[in-house]
Symmetry: C2
């Protein structure tokens, strides 16, 4: 009885419990897995023995025989950014409620650790399914695994044997945001873009561009930021000198915050002289001054639907929908946008 002295000195195994309970290891296994065909009396005896020894089934062994790990792997770009992080949290919660644990691998192109590397390390750890959150353009990407993959957001160029798509509406967001500005009468609408390596950033830029073209408005060169407030501030310092411009679509709220600070520092009032619309709806956005007009995604709903489909695909291959959770992004109008100041060239018309 090696484990009767120190609980967990070397973790007790099923056979230890079996011995203590006077049953076979297989019966212990049955009890731990809630299988039928165990007398109530034995079941209780086993549970008591397990409790006494501090027995915890060994996941590795279980995985080895059953082939299932009970784990989802999440590869997530953008360590710390609001969107990816919110999605990650929502995914973890959804998975946990469905009985799955979550392994995270942040990709960081700076560390030379791209999506492939992240996925590779997850597969090596062993996961039953993979969730991909956000992607940069790393060229065509073939995942050589039969593990089902859930992609949250667009992943052009990704090839995977068993793939489920969710939330591919990212280009609508930029379109929605920009149309709001157009509807307010703005004609000179600039764009502070996210890093164009990111598909999400490109899609938002594309939405902006499309909306302008549809409205026959001039398309100017976007200013590319890196999602950070600081880059938004830098962009704002440049944009403040564009006298004709009366509105800006920033690719996320953080950049909008920096942008607005720079604009107002330069004496251009928001929204009276310049309207700003962004994306993300940070928890803080509605409490800022001015409160941000922004486009929100419903991370929770997307994660819940996506993970549910992924886990269904794991449990019963081939039965899950290939595309889920195509939610429309939602425009939230607050204080940072206002009707365009007069249609003439001078933005000071207010």
């Amino acid at each position: 009885m090696p484990s009767s002295q120190l609980p967990d000195r070397t973790r007790p195994a099923g056979t230890d419990v079996a011995r203590l309970a006077g049953v076979s290891q297989k019966t212990v296994s049955r009890v731990m897995n809630n299988e039928p065909y165990v007398r109530e009396e034995l079941r209780e005896r086993v549970l008591r023995a397990a409790q006494q020894l501090g027995y915890r089934p060994n996941g590795a062994a279980r995985t080895l025989t059953s082939g299932r790990t009970g784990r989802l792997g999440v590869a997530c770009l953008g360590a710390g950014l609001y969107g990816p992080t919110s999605m990650l949290v929502a995914v973890e919660r959804s998975a946990r409620l469905l009985g799955y644990a979550t392994c995270v691998a942040h990709t960081s192109p700076e560390d030379g650790h791209g999506l492939v590397g992240a996925v590779e390390s997850l597969l090596e750890q062993g996961v039953d399914g993979i969730v991909l959150i956000e992607a940069t353009d790393e060229g065509p990407l073939k995942l050589s695994t039969n593990v089902p993959v859930l992609t949250l957001g667009r992943f052009p160029g990704l090839v995977a044997a068993r793939r489920i798509r969710a939330d591919e509406h990212s280009n609508r967001s930029g379109h929605t945001a920009t149309r709001h500005l157009i509807a307010l009468g703005h004609r000179q609408i600039r764009h502070v873009a996210g890093p164009q390596r990111w598909w999400a950033a490109r899609d938002r830029s594309e939405g902006w561009r499309t909306a302008l073209v549809e409205a026959a408005l001039p398309v100017t060169e976007p200013i590319e930021g890196d999602w950070s407030c600081a880059s938004g501030f830098a962009a704002g310092s440049l944009l403040a000198r564009d006298e004709a411009m009366t509105a800006v679509f920033a690719a996320n709220d953080d950049m909008a915050i920096g942008l607005i600070r720079a604009l107002t520092d330069a004496g251009r009032r928001v929204p009276q002289e310049v309207s700003v619309v962004a994306m993300d709806d940070l928890p803080a956005s509605r409490y800022l001054r001015p409160a941000l007009t922004t486009v929100a995604r419903d991370f929770d709903a997307i994660a819940v639907d996506g993970v549910a489909a992924l886990i269904r695909e794991i449990a019963e291959p081939g039965t899950a929908a290939r595309t889920v959770a195509e939610r429309e992004p939602r425009l939230i109008v607050r204080e940072s946008t206002a009707p365009a100041p007069g249609r003439d060239r001078r933005p000071q018309a207010d």
Copy 2:
């Protein structure tokens, strides 16, 4: 040769590679683990065969024999909050750079899934070490495992066999923030607290209270929020009616943002009439208007030191320091604090 047709139909095993390369499974194992005593020629032959079959070592089997998983488990409270999330990201990165994968289990007392449950699920998954980020008061807490545990932040009442502590300075932060207000001449200093179930919140409140007592200033009842902007806004709506008060310490930046909005909505200017200091240093905080004076923690340094110690403890039990990364929190003075408006009762003195 079951796996030669479809790569990964049933994942190829080491024996498949061995057969293809004309060596023993053990040699494949040696190659995959970079062990010595393999001729260069064979090594290459094995690698080529592995490549060809798409071979990936099976983590579960490796864990079963070696007893090590290469995985760290992180139990993290406060899904989505800036502090815990930043810490989580930093931990994951540190772990990855040291060759460890990361499993996350968010605890959510609302879901009835406390710290114990989170740790339990991590242990069942199998992890080599556990990282605890933030805690609520769940009473005395005994972790019955010999897996080493790294705690980031204070965890009173936690008992674990092998524990490493990092970043237990949380009470200094509130003290530092409050002393800044005192130094500016403020006498009536209110406090918007975090939820007192959280130790971090209690510690910040304690720091505030201590600083006031040391300066012989009146200690009023804190207003308890829940870390959210909304709760800060609610607190601000109340505090705006306190004419005597000239400064507020908010337990985090988010609440400060809501607080300031409410104060200024009520006509009390920040910082001219009311100074606000908070904690976290959100990326956005320095671009707000007013930019927030706040106290920052160095998540990265704490995570790097903590995880390094944890992994050292895993590799060579007993050799790691029991306490690391005791960094002093850093006060960052910006625009939301100013000298107290005249010492008389009327705050409009500016």
